[in-house]
Symmetry: D2
Subunit: 310 residues, 4 copies
């Protein structure tokens, strides 16, 4: 079953291939200019910081049922109180190592994470991703990732603690959340879309968070981000887009539009709860956001420990 | 052979145990207040960003000869062009995972990384670190880590491209570099000490960088940092302190003073080359620094992708 | 689409649930009695040994495209020439570690590897396999695995160097190979079915071996094995059963019949080439086979280094 | 401090360098001829089998304190009840992967595991082992490993349930155990030396088993094995040789003599308890032993699931 024509039309509207040259591997991150960062710095007023990463450990959101993201980080000791000399007063070292899917916890998808019709972003061949990883558009091509961040608190705007599983966020939802935020979204901004769904994970309902219906972005949102030249979008869910899917004849349309057509990074499992409470309290929904992924060479995704600063 | 009395005297001078309460697990990071961060934001003038992380891959600096840091990150595919449906136009997913020592590349040591005389920072028992990791002072206790950064370019101040292996940086070196920088170092700042030695790694001389004599901080520098209430220090070397050691009767004195006595994070393998060139060019050695480690639960160290912003 | 009635009929014919009690987790391995092993020892005449394992390394057959078996073993050093004393004459140690899918190379599937209609072998609930592994029928329940082995060299019996991708082996093929072998197959025997397809892997055509059409056992073979009370079956292919599948309305029927219904271990990626040449030369197709899997606690599969002895 | 002359004399006596040619990488395994295996098969009388492997799991004997063997195997799911089709009756797959030091549990040391004075077995340069592993004498050079096994039950011969930590087994102990066994030890045999110490591990006293004084082979035993042309030796301890060491001026003499000088594989963490009980009961201490290690390419050691058959 081929993709429906209306999907192709939407794809064409948001397509950024060639916009930053035929060799570009960073997509909408090109929109984060020095000017954008300088203005973002103006959002730092109190110096208050918000960590948006979930802890990396065996109690993470992975339940073994998502192909490609089967397990949570496992950390083991490499040395434990290792003495360098027999002297009982001497220094002892403890070191550890980890084993984890790169997309197990708070992370950015690289632009090479998905393909369709033989292509990834900017028209690079699907085959540029092989068993050695992504030779094009890997997470190591991102470089630094800091910009102005804007929280679109869709859950709060809709008056619920969290959106229900299966709820597809619409452009109207984004408009309403933006109005409630009392700010704007412009070129190079990073948008954080809050569903509140990560409360399930934080409260221990791991299986409900990670292995069932979840709210998320709907197909039309891609155009909303494209029209505003957003640099990157992150959510507080595992799948980024809504699950179950909106229609049966297009699988993961948001992934296709964001990653392949627009070349826009998607972030997942961002913990927006504390930030949301602060924004609701002070009415300020724009902030400085520092969210550089770990530069895994040829990585399909990268863990990130994002910090919002107001 | 017990530790010499002069070491114990120095240890006493820099000791911060109890300073932030008996349960404190963050040490000098407590010095990074909202005010400090707000002032740090004032360092962002052009919006120019500098990535300080080295790539995470099999060509990293680990040569197999450091107990506890034996190997470089190994990344493998979890799925490659995995189709969710038979439709040839349908989306295909590629995901990966990694296996790495937490201190293999650009990282922060946690305060639990070393112990001596049965204790880690703040007097917590060495036994609080066991085969399950660090129940006290793990890297997950750091939270966000952003502040004002100051580059002390010791190599440049000494007129060399890089310090020689075995060179122990002295407080005078730090003074000279600070004078050359034309700025000050104050409470809550993060100091980046440049030796230039990472050029060896960047130019492909991995074995020379990672498995031989290296320049680094000398014992007396701990007091210099303590007197200025520095929040954290990072270098562009693998071992942080000088190797071979300055004296045979104290093993890794800098680690003991910084991590155990002061409770001050140490960063290693920070690539300061591009930042150094910029500072030399514009004469500005202070900047906003975002360097939050990945929050591995009970981790003895944490990878970080630091970004300096001017 | 429910499974077709003829599949259910066949399933009923080969079903062994309850045959060795309601708590049995070893299935047809129960058929390997002391007597069977004693008779197997009688097959050792010359003392010549044949290793049937493929090497465990990064050049293994995994191409990243099989969910659940995404990558080849990655081995890294844990210590390299680690000296325990400064004495230059002193001992130095080198150690390593590995990171691998348990079914990456030569292995046995555990009986818990697949389920359908909510059950694994012996009627245990599918839920007995969870994110902690297989609490029932894990590979650690196998214990020792030695018996008489019989090579059914289907490729040779059909006069080809290897069967073509997509070729489904039939009971007639097994009969013909057994006739050519000039022996019998009885209770407790382990049958090795040779397709010759592993020649592709051995000659470097990894992608053709691991990621395309492959020959393998057809559905009806399950009954053939059941009627003879075979204890376990292994092949020289990656998927064990034929690919593409014989019919669209039953996915992986051989896995369902062997593992779930019969409780019979399946072995994959056994290198039968040298053994095949020997059997063709001396006309003796029965031998002693030692093939105990590594006892991973709750493992879904287990690597094995099988040895045939004539 | 150079090695004492008496050590060098002993080393010369047991040295096998060049005995099987200048390129030999298998050492005393060359002594296992077809004849030896054929005779070994004669030891199979009842068909009774004994598994000698300990389970591979997180409760293994590693306590984090042995450099190079820091942790126990960690297994995680790669897929859990993964459906290949939406049909609720359809097959579901579960797969897993593991992350483990190769010498974490029951294993053979490869001949490349240790070096001294710049050499490994057969005079190959120490540098033949590098960060890519052992290009010479790796565990992948072992091939099949089956032979006649003889249990020397030193604990039982000494009338104790297990030898005490620190007890160094002497040639007289081996003689006494052999006399009690009522058999002989000849060329190509594999000797299993029982201390009973693994009872500590089996009873849950992991720390006592893995991180403290342990009984083991003393230096002079190497000559005893050499004189009888033993092919390989395994024990039921973590370190193989006694700990603490017999003398301060030679570190790990048994490792040096066995692995480097003789080229004889050492096995560790073999569970000999059930086998010991059987031998005591029927008075038969010789058996067929199948103990082929997993063939990790360039591996410094290899897990093994040994089976003794009587």
């Amino acid at each position: 079953m081929p993709l429906p024509p209306e999907f192709h039309e939407l794809a064409k509207k948001v397509n950024n291939w060639g916009r930053w040259g035929p060799d570009d591997e960073r997509g909408t991150l090109n929109l984060i200019t020095d000017d954008v960062v300088r203005r973002a710095a103006g959002c730092i007023r109190s110096g208050r910081r918000f960590s948006l990463a979930i802890p990396l450990g065996e109690d993470g959101p992975m339940m073994g049922n998502v192909p490609g993201r089967p397990s949570n980080p496992k950390r083991t000791m490499l040395s434990l109180h290792l003495a360098m000399a027999k002297d009982p007063e001497s220094i002892r070292f403890s070191d550890d190592q980890v084993f984890m899917p790169l997309q197990a916890a708070t992370h950015w998808d690289s632009l090479a994470h998905v393909s369709y019709m033989g292509k990834i972003y900017n028209g690079f061949a699907e085959g540029s991703v092989d068993e050695n990883g992504a030779s094009r558009c890997g997470i190591d091509k991102v470089g630094s990732l800091v910009s102005r961040g804007v929280l679109l608190d869709v859950a709060r705007a809709r008056g619920v603690s969290h959106l229900e599983g299966g709820y597809a966020i619409t452009p109207s939802d984004l408009d309403a959340a933006l109005t409630a935020a009392g700010t704007d979204v412009g070129a190079g901004d990073i948008v954080l879309v809050r569903t509140g769904f990560i409360q399930l994970f934080l409260s221990g309902a791991r299986a409900q968070y990670g292995a069932s219906n979840m709210p998320g972005l709907g197909t039309e949102c891609a155009l909303w981000f494209h029209e505003r030249d957003v640099a990157a979008v992150a959510t507080d869910t595992l799948a980024f887009e809504v699950w179950p899917l909106e229609r049966k004849d297009v699988l993961f349309p948001v992934h296709l539009l964001d990653l392949v057509e627009m070349g826009m990074l998607q972030g997942q499992n961002f913990n927006l709860e504390e930030l949301s409470a602060s924004c609701a309290e002070d009415g300020v929904y724009a902030f400085f956001l520092s969210a550089t992924p770990e530069p895994f060479v040829r990585g399909l995704g990268g863990p990130v420990a994002p910090v919002a600063i107001k």
